[in-house]
Amino acid sequence: MFHAIKPGIMNVIEARDLTKRFGHFTAVDAITFNVKKGEIFGFLGANGAGKTTAMRMLCGLSKPTSGAGQVAGFDINKNPERIKENIGYMSQKFALYEDLKVWENLRLFGGIYGIPEKEIGNRIDELLTTLGFKSEKNMMVKSLPLGWKQKLAFSAAIFHEPKIVFLDEPTGGVDPAARRQFWELIYDASDRGITVFVTTHYMDEAEYCNRVSIMVDGRIDALDSPANLKEKYHVQTMDEVFFQLARKAKAKV
């Protein structure tokens, strides 16, 4: 699948030598990259490579040990609180309140992100109709099947139409058919102008992104569009690109 970016864009995410150290362990090692507005940017890497740590810094959740960056126009070091107002986030565990109903979850997040009360009701109905589970409005989230939870979690993350949405391994544990459906949702969001920053360890999903970066041991070892990377390493799939990079990293050690 190919997804086109509109021309005339600026950077919604910028990172310069962003570093995070925990004691002697360097989780994120001076990464530098940009993400353009409207892009679908894949942040790839093996488990433990530092993706989640890097993302937490971009979301304003964690303070960088050194380095700088801006997200949605706000400085990571100085204004993490303003960043939070302008982004959406979907966690690995989908993170919905299981004891609340579907619409109650949406209302909660709508309220937190400042959507006016009068509007929330309409937006909830609209969203549920689009997703195709308007009739399940009053169901407890804990009784939803996994694929639906995933869709709901994503929708809750972009409910307030943020500039950027961060997705942390959003397709974990879901079957391939559901994964493809999910990526349709991502495309829809992107068409609406929301920049999508998605981390994943599924290399095939990299094909769906405009550009990807691959993190190995805290550093970004590759940053380009999937097509260019495949050409550079003379391989057919992103899996193989990753394999090449992993081998290089091992060889260095």
């Binding site: 304003g60 959740l61 964690s62 303070k63 986030y89 993170a95």
Partner: protein
């Protein structure tokens, strides 16, 4: 891992030392209008026993009841006038043992011990003089709790325990659950201020504990016949303070753990167990070895239960519980500051 090895040791020590229903060095006061040989001998006999230590000679009889209020005296021995003469001549010698009934178990034990000592004195006299002396009439008067109702000490104790349970344990488990499920992360990324997040987790249990407080009080008064001698408002303020301390403890625990299990374990082992054993609820603190007594000072429940007894059962006012309130107040401030800081730094 270490917990599994250290915990049994701690438990044996705590149970072994704390569960001592023996009295040691209980302080007693004397009101002695006679000041004669017999009274002196009896006083010495009591004082020299390992169970008792003479604390005060009361001069003014009106002080007899008030001497208990500081909370250090467990027993007052009051002799009748012309004691010795009465033993020898008329058989009207009387000793009145006045005990603090707010802790019925201790009161009974103290009274029993002293009675035995007095009886031993009489036996000695008999042996010495070779004749049967007149009996010393020993009467017992229990203050605050004349019928020695156990409920007088259990209601304040249960109140403290329940408030701590609801506030500390439930709050910490609730926050830990959100951490486990991942919803905490999502909330933290949102523009919701951390203070508001904390408040939102704390308010439900605060409300529940207020309701519990009122329920326990109502049941205590109407079903168990435990009086509220002192000011209800004072009692409520005191309880509010304790609730704050417990909530802060719950927050602190939640910032140190990552799973609900750990929160539960931490609350039970770190709060409930010490509170039950060392707060004076079951076992009098004065009887414990020094190091346990020191530890007991750090347990909020100890101060709360003591203050509740003073207000509820003894009917005392703000003045006498100033110390307890100050301690609880300081604990609240320290704990709240600590847990707020820990909560924020966990984000880093």
């Amino acid at each position: 891992m270490i917990i599994l090895l250290v915990l049994p040791v701690l438990m044996i020590l705590m149970f072994g030392f704390a569960i001592s229903t023996e009295i040691k060095n209980a302080r007693f006061a004397v009101y002695d209008p006679s000041h004669d040989l017999a009274t002196q001998k009896i006083i010495d006999k009591i004082n020299s026993s390992e169970y008792f230590t003479l604390d005060t000679y009361i001069i003014d009889p009106s002080q007899i009841e008030t001497v208990f209020q500081k909370g250090e005296i467990g027993l007052v021995v009051e002799f009748s006038e012309n004691f010795y003469k009465n033993i020898v001549q008329t058989g009207e010698a009387q000793i009145l043992l006045i005990a603090d009934g707010t802790d019925p178990n201790t009161a009974s034990t103290l009274v029993n011990y002293v009675s035995r000592l007095i009886a031993a004195y009489q036996l000695e006299q008999m042996v010495l003089t070779g004749k049967l002396p007149y009996q010393i009439d020993v009467k017992v008067k229990l203050l605050y709790n004349p019928t020695l109702k156990g409920a007088y000490t259990t209601v304040p104790g249960v109140m403290g325990l329940i408030l701590m349970l609801i506030c500390a344990m439930m709050t910490s488990v609730s926050i830990a659950r959100e951490k486990e499920l991942g919803t905490m992360e999502v909330i933290l990324v949102s523009p919701m201020p951390p203070l508001l997040i904390i408040l939102s987790k704390v308010i439900p249990y605060f409300t529940i504990s207020i309701i519990n407080y009122l329920t326990i009080l109502a049941l205590g008064v109407y079903v168990l016949d435990v009086p509220v001698e002192g000011s209800f408002i004072l009692l409520s303020l005191l309880s509010l303070l304790f609730i704050f301390v417990s909530l802060a403890l719950g927050l602190l625990i939640s910032s140190l753990v990552r799973t609900q299990m750990a929160a539960l374990l931490g609350s039970v082992m770190g709060l409930m167990l010490p509170a039950v054993l060392l707060s004076g609820l079951m076992f009098p603190i004065e009887n414990m070895p020094l190091f346990l007594q020191v530890i007991a000072q750090f347990i909020p429940a100890k101060w709360f239960i003591a203050a509740v007894k003073e207000v509820m059962i003894m009917g005392l006012g703000v003045g006498s519980i100033l110390r307890e309130m100050a301690v609880l107040g300081i604990m609240a401030i320290v704990l709240i500051t600590l847990s707020l800081r820990k909560f924020k730094t966990r984000l880093e």
